[in-house]
Symmetry: C2
Subunit: 213 residues, 2 copies
């Protein structure tokens, strides 16, 4: 009777927490090689289970990948939150609002740089914007990356830095700029640019958003 859900998962039959284990393995695979690297058989192999066992918990590879992708978005949210938490709390409201938005961008880019595999995975979703504000994609504060950006933009409006009539849709503009740079840096033709130059481009891009929004 020593089988099964002992705590950390024994060796024999019932795993006890296969779903979570497969998901974690999938995240690790995604971290190392992006969405294409989350391979069903490899995940089961790492967990020590037969390939077909995965189908008890995920409809197919895509279903597993979707959940890995949610986890990656949550990790991105955490990275953004981390960056925002480094900001001093008080101070003047307008400077603070501007700094908040910048922090969103900086966190986003830092995550893309530190975790390129997870970053690429985060945006290989199969669904559209409808689920952009869903449970599993949030950070510790309960907000998804998209929502974090939205609230930073709201702050800009309240601080009088962004005319209220230009607020709707503004997340798409800011997001596009930062996301595009991230892609070009990790996947695209800017790959291999040295770090100081990268920092420079990042700063100037955030300036552009700041100024052109």
């Amino acid at each position: 009777m020593d089988t099964g859900a002992g705590r950390p998962g024994r060796a024999t039959y019932r795993h006890g927490d296969l779903r979570r284990a497969l998901l974690e393995a999938g995240v690790e695979l995604a971290r190392g090689g992006g969405p294409d690297a989350v391979v069903l058989r490899e995940a089961t192999r790492r967990v020590g289970v037969a390939p077909s066992a995965a189908y008890r918990h995920f409809a197919d590879r895509r279903a597993l990948l979707d959940e890995v992708c949610s986890a990656a978005q949550a990790a991105l949210a955490v990275a953004i939150e981390d960056e925002m938490n480094t900001l001093p709390v008080g101070g003047d409201p307008v400077g603070s609002a501007r700094a908040q938005l910048r922090a969103v961008g900086t966190g986003y880019l830092r995550f893309a740089r530190d975790e390129p595999g997870l970053f690429r995975t985060a945006f290989s979703v199969s669904e559209d914007l409808r689920n952009a504000g869903s449970p599993a994609r949030a950070g510790e504060g309960g907000l998804t990356p998209f929502q974090l950006l939205g609230s930073a933009l709201d702050g800009l409006v309240e601080a009088g830095l962004l005319p209220r009539e230009r607020r709707p849709g503004a997340e798409f503009l800011a997001w596009s700029a930062v996301h595009g740079l991230a892609m070009l840096l990790i996947d695209g033709p800017l790959r291999g640019l040295d770090n100081t130059r990268v920092r420079g481009v990042e700063r100037r891009l955030l300036d552009m958003v700041d100024q052109g929004l």
Copy 2:
């Protein structure tokens, strides 16, 4: 002796132009389903040849994909050129310079919308920026997308719209914004946005670049 290189490729042994045929099949696959869809066996199947025949012309699948990707970038360059050619030639230099840059962005986004598969393929390169200005990736004018953007920015400097000291690296900023929007529109969470809203976002994004560069 009716075999072989009649002109358009007969049915028996020597194909005569297998390399180009495989490349074209690969482009068609990419058009339909992006980089993942360019499958070696399917390309050989469409050309009517054994799978292993491909290895006489391409080192491996990745080599074929790389060439398909170059073709996709050339197609992107043509789309941008098309957009630029719709512009009136004369007129005031500053307005014209600004319009040129806008045309680059518009053509870029139009290509992403019209040919999402090719667009995604165009940016799945394995190399970095070193080969961004290479032969096969150019349009009819002989310039790659990157170079077209660069020359538009040069025009901006000459028209006095962009301070010369901010010219270096400016392509990365403009490119990031437009590229990011393209990605979010076709692959990302903005997929499925209705057309009028898309146009609106596109216009505002180009405004942002215009103003924030």
